[in-house]
Each structure stands twice: as C-alpha cells, then as structure tokens.
Amino acid sequence: MKLNGSEILINCLLEQGVDTVFGYPGGAILNVYDALYKHAEIKHILTAHEQGASHAADGYARSTGKVGVCFATSGPGATNLLTGIATAYMDSSPVVFITCNVTGNLIGRDAFQEVDITGCTLPVTKCNYMVRDVDKLAETVREAFIVATSGRPGPVLVDIQKQVTSNEAEYEFVPKEKHFEQGRIVRLKSTHHPSISSPEPDLNAIDAIAEILMKSEKPLLICGGGVVRSGAADEFTELAEKLDAPTAITVMGGGAFNGHNNLKTGMIGMHGSQASNMACDSCDVLFAVGCRFSDRVTLNPNTFASQAKIIQIDIDASEIDKNIKTDIHVVGDAKKILRLLLERITEKQDHTDWKNYVFSFKVETVYKKLENGKMTPAEILSAVAEILPDRTIVTTDVGQHQMWAIQHFKFDYPGQLITSGGFGTMGFGLGAAIGAQVGNPEGTVLHVTGDGSFRMNCNELATEEYYKLPIITIIFNNSCLGMVRQWQHLIYDEHYSQTTLDRGPDFAKLAEAYGVHGRRVTNVEQLREILHETIEKRSDGKGWVIDCQIDIDEMVKPMVGGGSHIADFMLI
C-alpha cells in the first residue's frame, strides 16, 4: 500500500515491536508527530529537553534489554541529543535515534534549524544514515535496528529529510525475522560483517584458555559490561565458582556478577577495592570478559597485572590488545565462549590460600562516623539498601556519589545498575531513571545523584511528575563538585577552583514546585522515615527528591592516581 514517509516510519517501529518512544517535537519532524498522533499503540514520552529524552531512551534500553527509541527535530533538537548519543556509544547501549532534517532543497544552505547531524554524530554512533528518498526509508530503518542491536550493540542515528516524511512510497509490512533478507543487510550477513555479527569463537584458543585457567593457582576474573550486554551473567558466575576465583567488577559490569557472591572482590581500578587491586597486582592469570581495560581500570597499562597471563574475551576485535596486550584472547559472544569454557573446565578448583590472601584486603571501604554529626555516604546507602526493595533499579549520575553507590550496593542482576561508565555524563541519571521506570512500571527505581549532577538536568522532574513516575532521587549534597574537589584537595594543593556550589536552589522546594515530594535531610533517622514513606505513598505516583546534606570534605576511598600503579593507593 502507498503510505507517506511518516506512516512508513511508524509502521517500521511497529515491525520492531516498539511501543515506547522518548522525544521532543519540532518543525522538521512535524509530519512524523502527526502520524504518531494517529497511533495510540506507541506511547510517546515528552521530556523537558532532548538530552533528557536521549538518556531516557538509553536507560529504557539498559533496563529492559529492548531497543531504546528517541525522536528529535533538526538543528538544536538534534545537537541536544549528542551527549546522550555519546553516552550510549561509550557504554554500548542499543538506541535508535531518529531526527528529521530540513527539506532536501535547503540542505547545505544553512537553513533555519539545519545542522549536519550525521557529521556531528559520526564519531559517536555505530552507524548513521541520512534518508533522502522515501523509497529507501523502510530499508534504512530496518537496517538501523539490526545494526543497533547486533554484534556489539550501540546507538544508531537515522536523519530523515523533511520531504521524505511527506512523500509517498509503497510499503509492505515485513516481519522482523525477514529483515535480514533485504537491502545491505544481506551483504553484511553473508560476509559476517563485525557490525552485525559475533565471530565464531576460535576453539583452539578456548582449549588453551581452559588449560591456563585450570593450571592457574592465583586466578582473578574481571566481569565487564560485555557480560551484561551478552546476557552471560549465569555462565560467568558458574565459571567463577567452578574456578573458585576471586572476581572483580568494572563499573559497567555491576550486576552481572552477583554482589552477594563470596568471590566478589568489588570494583577494580581507580576507586577499586583494595582486594581487587591487590589481587590484580599478584594474580598469575587475569581473565577479563567484556572489559576493554579502560584507563580508569588499568591506570598504568605498563605495570597492570604484570605477573599475570592476560586473557581477554570480547565481541569486538578492535578491543583486543587496544589498551592492554593480551597473552591470549577470543573474539566472540561472551555467553557462547563461556559455555564452551565451562564444557572444558570439568573439575572444580580450590584456591583457598589465594582467596585467603586476596580477602585479607578490604572489599568494602569503611567510612568513619563523622564527629560533626553529619551523615556519611555509607550511612545513607546502608539505610537505602535496607529499606528499599531488593531488586530496586539504581541509576546514577557521575562523580563521588556514583562511586559510593557502586562500591556500597550489592547489585544482584544485570541491568540493575544503570550508570554512565565510559563517557562519565553528569546529568545522565534522572533521564535514565525515567527510561528505567517507564520500561519497568512495577519496579522501584532509585536515582542516586550529587548536587552538581542533579542541577544539570533536574528539569526532567517535570517529566517524572507528568507521567506519574515514582522515582526516588537521593542527592548526596556536599555543596560542591565533590570528585573534582577531591582531586583539587589531593593533587592541586587545595585550590578549590570553581568547585564550590555554595548556592541554590533548595532542592526540596524545587521538587515541590515541580509537583513531586521534596525533603531535606540532615540525619539518618529522618532519612529512614522518609524512605519508609516513599514505599507507603508509592501509589500516589509522585516521585521523591531527598536532599541529603553531607560533609563537603567527604572523599571516595580507596583511590589510585591516574596513570599510577594499580596497587599504589593514594587514599585507602
């Protein structure tokens, strides 16, 4: 049947089973919103700002395992997505961004709200497209979804010229399974193109790795974000237990290795636990799955795990030997490779002595009670962990609160922790929480933030209120940019340059102004009462902003300086 481009786009989303879209309308994308008006089966979440929509689509994807979809108009609408696209890219989150551009005859003329968004997003998308011809629209959208979700997932942008959204073309509903049989996907599939496929693992390498792991006396496992994306948490855990190996997580790996497991050594790297970092320094085999050895993990790549044979499992060949030279590696899907390893590792290992050594170092940082009576981050997080339901989804912003939350909470399942690990986007958390709550309407969503991060995108409280999303925001309010201040304290002779936030707003009042519950908290008893109240009043559909006053000089411990040896703690 003949449909206009906007109808084709909506139908292509329906082919994918998309029922939720985050976005913001504007001039160039008007036709698409007109089509959306007629399709009640797609729920559109209107955010306060396109950036919020981009993070919400990302949070939705990470918390549901589905593709996030985000709409924005041309020009500023599109560029406002950029930070969100980069955030999704660095953390391999599958989001399809759809923008419209000015009509074809205005392209390149610096028309009103024109920007070369495919050019802008080139370095932060897995692939991007500009659709100039309505006949190519359906094929392009189908390809975009396949590219976003296959192989190593990531964001994709489809920029559609405005005339395409009103021009007509033949459209036929094509079920999702058939999308591999058309257009460029046929070539990508037949050549096993890395953008959409996971390579068949090298069985010889797997045999060799099994051998090394079984012979190892001091193994250390690292659970990276790839374990989450691959859905390989069960296989990974089984392997860790079979090998009886201490297991560290990266920021992105949180949740994929159960936080209550006795083998857990906690986070590794700059703010890694003493147990993780010391184990890394003396292990004889380091087995990393879905971890790209970022500089925040390795710190000094030349001395990282210098005693160890390094084994890397990654779906992306270009992550192998990029930051750390491996001794042996396998490129492919983590789940598949871990299963093959489990078949080969038959005997359960016993590493009691090695574990005794590793766990003689602290897994959790002990934060002392403050003499000035202020709440410590640990006290706040303990109260939250105790009172909120077990499977609470946690989103964070970026900074000290993020590290405290990841250190303190025991994440039990993949997707429970939603945080901007790679790009480190302050202002990510509230948008992501909105996406997570929309995707998990029955779940409890906790948004942990700092006063600096929250100030960036707190406008999304309007979205939280309108859609009755009972998100619980906890602000670690130290009246400063804590993490930057921590560096200034330790490295810059206490020159607190532009990091003191001795200014408004009163976050509790701000929350009330947006129509959600706002509270200012100075002690743990108060906090506990309010947390119970959040549960009791959940059915009112109102979110919460709990502004917790903490000391300005709180620091994240332990800490290893950037580029230093992983066991040279600057702070413990």
């Binding site: 050019g119 370095p123 692939c127 990508l188 060949a317 270009s318």
Partner: protein, 173 residues
Amino acid sequence: MDEQNKIRRYTIVTSMDNEAGVLSQLAHLFSRRGHNIETIAAGWTTDRKIMRFTIEIFTDEAKMKLLCDQLRKLVPIHYVEILEPQKSIRRELMLVRVNAADRATRNEIIQIANIFRGSVVDITHDSLTLQIVGDDQKNSAFETLLREYGIIELARTGIVAIERGELKKHDDD
C-alpha cells in the same frame, strides 16, 4: 626496537559502498584514532556501486592491526587489506608544469622525461607540462631533477595499489 613498535609505511586497500559520506567516515576514523593519512586515492571498481580506496600511512604494526579492526566495523566497508610492498604494485600519477622558455631547456627536460618514461601533455612558449607514472620514489626523483628548471605547479594523485598475481609453480621447482 621491538617489531611491533617499528614505524613504517603501510598501504591499506579497502572497498566501500559508493554512497554519500563514506569518504568522510573513512577519513574521520583515521584522524580520530590518531593517524595521519599520507596519501589517499579513490575510484570505482568494476561495480559502480563500490568504491576502492588506497590509503597510505606511517604507523607501527600493533596500531595498524587495531586500525584495520576498527575500519572493518564501519558498516559500508566490504574489506580491508594491507598490501605487502614485495607482493604489490604501487603507482601514482604526477602532473608537473615546469619553466621551459627556450629550445635547449625544452629538449633537456624532454630527455629527462624520456628516461623516466614520462610524457609531454602540454606545451606553451615558456612551459612544459609532463605526466609521469611511478611509485612515490620515482616520482620524487623526477621532481628533484626538474626543480632546477623551476616547477610552476605540481599535482600527485596519491598511490593506488594492487596485489601482484601469483605465479604458478612447476612441479620440478
């Protein structure tokens, strides 16, 4: 120096879908991964829908391998190969306009061009334009020899390269 860290010239051949923006995707990947393109040349293959690029860069083996893996991830890319210098033919075309105001100079220049198997493609009262095909070293040598006459303008296409065919071996070899 460790083999992996030895910097040398690499010739990369890749083919991509012939569509808007592929050149910028390709070039951008080199720059954002910290590589400087020495030469780049592009043209159709037997299939007009596919473009073939020859790119040369200076880098080391480890970075080269990584770059190839990063290139292979680009959706429009069909294949990426490194051509080994001994097993490939590398050529570029150079056009050079040089001062030649009198007959003696013109003759001299034409003689040099003949030695290099170059040809005269344009002539005026006071200049000659020559065309020469060769690898970068030959073309640079030619350029050096012409410098004393005064080069007015020079244009090089950048290297295009192709793998040598394999000779069939005789049984008694």
